[in-house]
Symmetry: C2
Subunit: 108 residues, 2 copies
């Protein structure tokens, strides 16, 4: 998975029987969200007026070590939940709202 993959996923959970592969894919995204620090990272990004953060800001704000923050950002990126953009020596992360919309749709 990465953020370049198609956003389209699965039929809504309540509107028909999920195939095994749809269920595996969807479950893999939910597992990414099943970690409190990742949810806090997403909500922190969304709370920024600029709608973006760079990793060091998260280290300071969440009080989590830099390697742990980097790991969570990598997982969020690979799941297509955030995008990243290098500017100078910093990498800025933004939420990919389409992926959250896909999950909302899947839960309907």
């Amino acid at each position: 998975m990465n953020s370049n993959l198609s956003i389209a996923c699965c039929p809504p959970l309540l509107e028909g029987r999920l195939t095994s592969s749809d269920a595996s894919y969807l479950a893999s995204i939910f597992r990414v969200l099943g970690e409190p620090a990742r949810l806090q990272i997403l909500s922190l990004i969304a709370a920024q007026p600029s709608q973006e953060v760079y990793a060091c800001e998260l280290v300071e704000t969440l009080g989590i070590s830099q390697p742990t923050v980097s790991h969570h950002l990598k997982v969020l990126y690979e799941a297509g939940l955030v995008t990243k953009e290098r500017r100078g020596t910093s990498i800025f992360y933004r939420i990919l709202p389409e992926r959250l919309a896909m999950l909302r749709e899947a839960l309907s």
Copy 2:
């Protein structure tokens, strides 16, 4: 957690910084959904004309062992994602749509 607890949970993920306890609670529900068989169980329940199943139907349809199905149903019940009702010797399970609505709200 169980289905008798309040459905209200957390502010939307993208509308403010999640508290640590909200993030932990929400992550615990996403972890429950992070298992393909549980998603298939939910979609199978929703696909029934009666909107309910009893455990033996799931064993037959999903081809998962009875102890595994029982375990997943227990986890779904404790997360408040399904309700259960004993009738005679069978226990019938139904989806609690309010909990899915809460998750959709949290992802907005």
